[in-house]
Subunit: 436 residues, 2 copies
């Protein structure tokens, strides 16, 4: 056990790990070479026990037209093909009306769980008084949020009878303007918890009130955004491959139906949406775990986990829709602290949180559209394997000439690590012979 | 619209964006200062349209004891407190038996959807022949995987009657040894699709067979890992704050029950698990969207989205369990290509995929345990606001002396951006007066 690790300097932490786990000198060198010469102190503050930085590719998908405004969308993602797929869909749809998006609601919620012998009816009768006392108790925190257009939106009491007869939840809904609002909501709730206890005990009642916990929820079914793509079926020809646009549209429709009704398929269908969404979430310094949890729980709200998109094929018009909850911020948290998150917001024209919800939804829709279009025509492996080949060649230290030769050869041969190695070994032997 | 963007050099891409969106010169400078002097070409290959690198803090949570082996776990996460919470739990549990983990199963699955007028019964009768033909058709791909201990595990035919009467799914299960296996599974499935069509049409039958799509599923309920923490209730004293260890254990148990029965709570409960899991997934070059989709869909498998953890309090023993699906790899993809992912695997002692599943599960469990322990005692804001204060002070360019003064002052005052600004302004005015 390394004692006092968290108190060590960064240098000492690295030394301690290298020595305890017998790591080669390259360990230290790789970590050092990924430090930022000027900003490392800043990056070290974002988490604890930092010893270096993990690089994710910072990309741009240009040409997105969302509600008639053009965006170059910053995307941070380590998976190949995602940015290319988003860019391709952006280009196509920019010529067909673009992405039409709309924020349907922006309410988030927090939960104050408490246990008491008061009955549901008694508590319900007291709700107007409780509401007003709780609002008052956080006035110092909410007044600033109110200036920015947010605040407390409402209260709802529920009986948590499945846990036990004495447990209740006060659901408090919030609007948090351009911040994601986690700190604001949690601070309000913890303060409200104290107030709730004193409010009830001040009723000259001896029954105790115990706060179980006070915390925001990442389930945000009332912080919803919608995205719509629509064009004449005939226009889909650039995507239809060997099929007619009509056949392509029918195959696409069946793919969406499969993702509605088959759980295993729905999960991967939605994963494709999140490839695009998370790339924007990361690029703007938002919390992708929060977004992921909220989105997938929303996908299961009917009791069966299902696709987040839907399709209408009518009168030779293809209409594809997406609806998902996205609680994002463009101020607070890391959004303006992280140099590249700040830069992303600058590139997007300093959007409001609502605008960012729409941009992220459009990126998700773009990726899902491209993925599905590939799946129902040539399959996704063709594009993927091209990327895969590049990665294998990199591992094998291929030079530029070898790259080109391999790309030609594998355009009609199956890519695998061993096949590429055999090909490259043969090429290198031939080259040695030529040089003799 | 920027024409030909993807063909531009990195330099040209940056110039084109700066000029089109009228961005300040700092845009170019920030991007450039985040390039890696030696490895930028490598990083550029991980995604398309890259213009720089997005830094995430690379941290280590030391002192994890998992099945009696000690690990320093690399974590990549932009959210403050997560690494500290994981480290704290690791230290505590290392003195109480450590994390006991077990891989319950390692099967992944892929889906071959097809449409035909053949009936379910006819197809079922043909299944032995289909299986053997399909296995043969991918022999060239599977033989290497078999050498590594993986391969095709089985076939299952389902009727997708909710989509339409003619649609079927051939679920193929795979074991993929130490790779996550996405490319392997997708390549097999696409090849199997071609074979299925020729197999059925060779039966001298005129009924057409159409492949709808062939792709892996990220729903992996048969790639499961379990984690158990257990200790005498009395030992929980370091976490119990103002409560007795017995009260703390009861409060913790209620928190777990709430996450079992209250949807909004379950989502955030599981999000806390994923904070730890994803930090390891990212640090090792795995795909967090795939993991997230699979985990949250698994959490909704009963028809109600619920907590992934469970608790038993009996005979004064506290036992806390976690079960979740995790399809991870330690070879293939970015795992050995990304310099820091490779380094993470080195730090972990070059684990197998199964070992990595257990490490990620332990990290998730550690974070959830710490979060819940804080929630049922002092609340999470105390720790969070300390971090929040640091972030605000950074934005306001506080110096070391100002940091210290602010930390003292805000130890018993509420933290908000405006409160910190007012405090700092006052301090700076005082300092000016002193200097006069």
């Amino acid at each position: 056990m390394i004692k006092g690790f968290s108190k060590f300097s960064q240098e000492q932490k690295i030394e301690a790990l290298a020595s305890k786990y017998n790591l080669p000198t390259s360990f230290k060198e790789v970590l050092k070479s990924h430090h930022h010469s000027a900003l490392q102190d800043l990056y070290n503050q974002f988490a604890e026990n930092t010893i270096s930085n993990f690089y994710l590719p910072y990309s741009v998908a240009p040409g997105f037209v969302i509600n008639k405004k053009e965006y170059a969308i910053p995307m941070v993602i380590e998976e190949s093909s995602v940015v290319a797929a988003a860019s391709k869909a952006a280009k196509f749809w920019s010529a067909h009306g673009g992405f039409r998006t709309e924020v349907l609601s922006i309410t988030k919620s927090g939960q104050l769980f408490f246990t008491t012998e008061w009955s549901l009816e008694e508590l319900k009768d007291l709700m107007p008084g409780i509401e007003s006392a709780l609002r008052n108790s956080v006035r110092d925190i909410t007044q600033n949020m109110e200036k920015r257009g947010g605040g407390i939106a409402g209260f709802k009491l529920t009986h948590e009878a499945r846990v036990d007869e004495q447990t209740f939840c006060l659901m408090v809904s919030f609007e948090t303007a351009d911040s994601m609002g986690a700190n604001f909501i949690n601070t309000c709730l913890e303060q409200m918890g104290d107030e709730l206890v004193s409010f009830l005990t001040q009723r000259n009642d001896t029954r105790p009130v115990e706060i179980n916990m006070a915390i925001l929820s990442n389930y945000t079914p009332d912080c919803l955004v919608q995205c719509i793509l629509s064009c004449p079926v005939e226009s889909l020809r650039p995507y239809s491959g060997d099929y007619s646009p009509q056949e392509f549209a029918m195959r696409f429709k069946k793919a969406v139906k499969l993702a509605k009704h088959n759980l295993s398929r729905a999960v991967t269908h939605n994963k494709g949406i999140m490839n695009g969404v998370d790339a924007v979430v990361l690029a703007t310094g938002n919390d992708f775990r929060a977004v992921e949890a909220g989105v997938h729980a929303y996908a299961s709200r009917s009791g069966t986990y299902a696709s987040l998109t839907d399709i209408i094929l009518e009168d030779n018009v293809f209409t594809y829709t997406l609806e998902l909850p996205l609680a994002l911020g463009t101020v607070g948290g890391l959004t303006l602290l992280h140099p590249l998150a700040k830069l992303s917001l600058l590139l997007l024209g300093k959007p409001s949180a609502s605008e960012l919800m729409q941009i992220a939804a459009a990126a998700g829709m773009a990726n899902n559209f491209s993925a599905l279009a590939a799946l129902v025509t040539s399959g996704i492996q063709k594009g993927h394997m091209k990327m895969h080949l590049t990665n294998i060649l990199t591992t094998l230290n291929a030079n530029a000439i070898e790259y080109q030769k391999a790309k030609n050869y594998f355009s009609d041969h199956d890519v695998s690590h061993s096949a590429v190695k055999i090909f490259l070994d043969a090429e290198r032997l031939k080259e040695q012979h030529r040089q003799k």
